[in-house]
Subunit: 402 residues, 2 copies
């Protein structure tokens, strides 16, 4: 049985107990050819292992069996938000990723600079992956246009990628993509997908026509492809749902953006794990849920760098005693998905998870690892069940029924 | 969380990787009184055991806890089709079983030749299990009647079993059975179960009356019992859903018929496992999903023949190296349900399942068996999750969300 946000809202109570959710992005892995051990199994993690002994372990199924989650659904599931119900459009997500302050009513689209050939057909969807610097300059060229009272904000993301935000009255995000996601064809006209979206479609198409003009002489970056028109999501907040004062300590805008969407505060922090811990310590009295995001493991996994992923995990383990000095009532260590170095990509493999609190019925496992987690009391658990479990162990849930 | 066909349709991509789904019909069993070991546990299966070591194992729940599946729901679940949603009527299923080319609009019914006594009461529902030859001759006698513009095609199945197909305009399959499924009572009048089915009910009853007349002098096969009136199912295809070129290598028309319903090609093959493997080899380059059906284990189980079921499993194991020479990217070995020899029938017990691919996080189990599968990483898994998992391991699914 899956426990939804409504039930959490009904059962949750405010209390001073504190939950730390340590998300090691891409934590799950696959065995190394030589040793037969995964990244986590290879890492020397005496502090995590000590928690595994008295805590509960299991494997989290983020989205569903066989499904590889993106970062957004992966994190939403950890926070208890069913990723099939709480979906975020591509455009809104990209805007969150550059920390763009999307307003209610704004329509955001994800964009690429691309190359059109002499016949106005797309010859390169990424315009040769131009530099981030170049992308920025070209975005300046397009930023600030106005069409029919609607202002269009264009901001660079990285390399050829950009965000276009349409700001004005009465806009709709029920629009088809302009990006055909293939070469040898022209960009598509944007069409209304619902009644009432026709005006927005016209505005977007006029913006795109003007963009084509402005970029005419900038071959090979002579056009922009837009897709994923979407509004800022309107999700219940962590405060509404769990009665938590929740905060995010995360270095990457994508994750802090996601945290904001569910009403978390976002704390300014530095780029190292020590910085993140310092931020935690400084703000420990102000909140009762701390989402700490550690990017390094995922980045190493994506690079196919087994050894580096191992050392990121070991670095987290070494930092753990400092974190535990704060004596959080519940500490959870897990990931938002697996990123096996062997695959150099996100994967569908379930994610090791450890929950420690003085109220655990101890699993007495000897190591925090994929293979030990398989024997843990959490079993193969939907990630959306993690928050109810953390809340319970923090004694923040009342009884269901009399 | 269960992943439906719609999500598969959204996430699946075409790729050259190949999946082999080896279905040992009725694979699951119960311990022998003497040894305490099931059929699979008794069998010497070094090749499957090797796959279990590096692959993932679990127990499949075909329909639901405690539910004994028929062959059709059992197989549909393996292909990812929720057997509660995708139901096939008995008549349509029986028609599929003899490779009858059911047309849209046709109503098929499953039939038995039976014996009526002097009081028009059923004394034997199977007319003494007449020979298949005799059944064929009697079907000729009934085939081709017409009632109210509707043509009735009668074809023999096996022994006393037959299929009756009503072909004409405006027919409904919302009909009650004529077969009371007990003796000592008369055959039932067929009744309309929904408005609009009254005419079809009348036609069927007139056909049955004429059948009684034609068979009057053929005691003990002097009547036909019909049940399971149904149309050809209209299901999404494997190609639509998974973007797979899928084929079935199956000896029994029931299974090839089922495969056709979900758009699989059906390959002509011989009656032995070696024939099936030869067919696989000859067609290996043409497809990327191969459903290989092995009937022997179920037949032995139904006969209560523990020893024969063991040897069928051992025969499959011996053939495995030949199959593995093809180096499929994913191989799955499982069954559509359990058929314990101790019960001489299908049963509700979950079915051992093994999935092997180079992208498995290995379970390191020492044997492919019910008791080891219980420790496997797949846990007790809904059978409908098998295809998403196989697709994932074949790298045929894209990420969910950004």
């Amino acid at each position: 049985m899956q426990i939804g946000l409504d039930l959490m809202k009904e059962l949750s109570i405010t209390s001073p107990t504190k939950i730390v959710l340590l998300v090691i992005d891409g934590l799950g892995g696959l065995p190394h050819d030589n040793s037969g051990l995964t990244e986590l199994e290879t890492a020397c993690t005496p502090n995590m292992d000590k928690l595994a002994l008295l805590g509960n372990c299991g494997l989290l199924q983020t989205v569903g069996i066989g499904i590889t989650p993106g970062s957004a659904p992966g994190h939403l599931a950890l926070f208890g938000y069913d990723p099939f119900v709480f979906t975020i459009g591509r455009g809104a997500l990209e805007a969150m990723g550059i920390d763009f302050d999307l307003q209610p009513g704004d329509i955001a689209a994800r964009g690429n600079f691309c190359t059109l050939d002499g016949n106005e057909l797309i010859s390169d969807r990424r315009a040769g992956r131009i530099s981030t610097e170049e992308g920025k300059n070209l975005c300046h060229l397009l930023d600030g246009m106005a069409v029919d009272g609607v202002r269009i904000i264009v901001q660079a993301v990285k390399e050829h990628r950009l965000v276009a935000v349409f700001r004005g009255e009465g806009l709709s995000d029920e629009l088809s993509d302009a990006d055909p996601q293939q070469t040898g064809v022209p960009p598509k006209e944007v069409a209304a997908l619902a009644p009432g979206a026709e005006r927005t479609a016209r505005i977007v198409n006029r913006f795109l026509a003007q963009t084509r003009e402005r970029l005419a002489k900038h071959y090979p970056t002579n056009m922009v492809l837009l897709r994923g028109f979407s509004k800022k999501p309107d999700f219940p907040t962590m405060a509404d749902t769990y009665k938590l004062k929740a905060t995010a300590i995360a270095n990457y805008p994508m994750y802090s953006g996601l945290a904001k969407v569910i009403g978390m505060d976002v704390l300014k922090t530095g780029s190292t794990l020590a910085d993140e811990l310092y931020t935690l310590e400084q703000n420990y009295h102000n909140y009762n849920l701390f989402f700490i995001h550690i990017k390094g493991a995922d980045a190493a996994g994506e690079d196919g760098d087994f050894k580096r992923k191992v050392s990121v995990i070991e670095e987290v383990d070494r930092a753990l005693p400092r974190l535990l000095t704060l004596k959080p009532d519940v500490i959870v260590i897990t990931g938002d998905h697996s990123t096996p170095a062997a695959m150099a990509a996100h994967s569908w493999h379930p994610v090791p998870c450890l929950l420690h609190s003085r109220w655990c019925r101890p699993d007495r496992l000897t190591k925090f690892s994929e293979s030990e987690c398989r024997k843990g009391s959490l079993g193969l658990m939907p990630a959306t069940s993690l928050m109810p479990l953390a809340m319970a162990h923090a004694l923040k849930l009342t009884k269901f029924g009399a």
